[in-house]
Symmetry: C2
Subunit: 283 residues, 2 copies
Amino acid sequence: MDIAVVGLGLIGASFAKGIKQHTNNKVYGFDINNETLTKAKRDGTIDDIVLMNNLSDFDMVIVALYPVNTIEVCTDALKTMKRGSTLVDLCGIKGSIVDKIEPLALKAEVDYIGTHPMAGRELWGYDAAVNDLFKGASFIITKTENTNMEKVKILRNLAEEMLFKESVITTPKEHDKIIAFTSQLAHVVSNAYVKSPSLLEEKGFSAGSFLDLTRVAKLNEYMWSELFVMNKEPLLFEVDNIIKELEKYREALENDDIHYMEELLKEGRILKEKSNLAHSKKC
Amino acid sequence: MDIAVVGLGLIGASFAKGIKQHTNNKVYGFDINNETLTKAKRDGTIDDIVLMNNLSDFDMVIVALYPVNTIEVCTDALKTMKRGSTLVDLCGIKGSIVDKIEPLALKAEVDYIGTHPMAGRELWGYDAAVNDLFKGASFIITKTENTNMEKVKILRNLAEEMLFKESVITTPKEHDKIIAFTSQLAHVVSNAYVKSPSLLEEKGFSAGSFLDLTRVAKLNEYMWSELFVMNKEPLLFEVDNIIKELEKYREALENDDIHYMEELLKEGRILKEKSNLAHSKKC
């Protein structure tokens, strides 16, 4: 296939590198930053530069941008993509993207598939991209009643060649609900965690638990703000839920109620053990 | 030295193993579980079994028990320890322990030092103990106006031989304040995190951030409840603080206020970067 990747940040450029390294497809790229484009061509991340005003030569166009730009660029891309080609986006939320893009793709007779490769780093931009960012990761593919399952198959094969651990098929709504819990809430909580006056006094005292809890506090605030706000309802549910749960531990402490504290901790331990078990069964 | 370790759980038995493996001291041990004691002697974790009713032969007695038992056992131990010997406890909170034990130790003319080896596992008990649990970890030593600094020196040397990364000297109060933030809050938040109805739906969707945030949710509820309740004020401060901070993200979401969300996330990112910098400067 001739594949165009639009947006050569951490995710887009790592995706392009993954395709180049592990598959026989040709990869073309576009980025609004000319320096990035020149670098990407020079270092072989892409075979050549794409002209965005004509995407009619490509079998697959992959958009790797922030949510708002994803919608804009997909909308534009559909104007010149050829009938029967495939449009894929890699954005971390799916409902609001799929709702906007799918009707336009249907009209353009292009097969659109919303996906989410579950990997990242605490760095971003072209220079943070690496060949094997997706090695061992999950590739989430969303489907609707309009999804062309032949194209899903092609995408799954591509993901497999790129060394993703697995492709998981779900609906955009289900994706957004789960991602609010497993990824977005983790970023909110981690980012909130470091906001204690105790933070800069902790030298020498930080066990692994502190480092684990705060690892993803270092994030790209522009991208994550868009992702959060465009996934308002599910994320609000999770934030409300953890606040409600934290208030129980607060109450146990306030009342010196060691038995209630034990109950709360036991409940969490058992849930975590169940979750570990579910994971290990999958592996 | 002849050293007695009382309590051969994860921490006590790992400490005994560390001393045996890396130093020339003799290690004796006690545990209320007879099977554990037999195992510990048979597999060489300890040189021999201690009789708790007479500790007069030991240069150093190390107590590795839960908070309430630590106070009870230290109180008893001081009745038979010889003058000029050293009593050490490894409990994860220090203020309430030191306040109780220090006056008794002064009276018995025993040098008491409250410490906290900053390492752990998501497993506990004798069978979870390993030789190098403390390799690369921080060893926190608390001192008061009564602390015998010669004994602190001996303890630091022991920690160094056992491959601790460093010994950090602080006050019991300062220890408890920082530990509330870096360790106890991490366990509370992680334990609360898993309590979402979304937990068991997340198969295949869990990126590293979820696994990091929930790693320490699996904890020993009896030990941690004691630790939390005996460190009420500092931990309550931290739990209140993170609830207050989480409510700000909640507000930004509720109001679709992307700029406020960006501000909140940026503030957290910068704090985390400063914290990383402080760590890397130390290393």
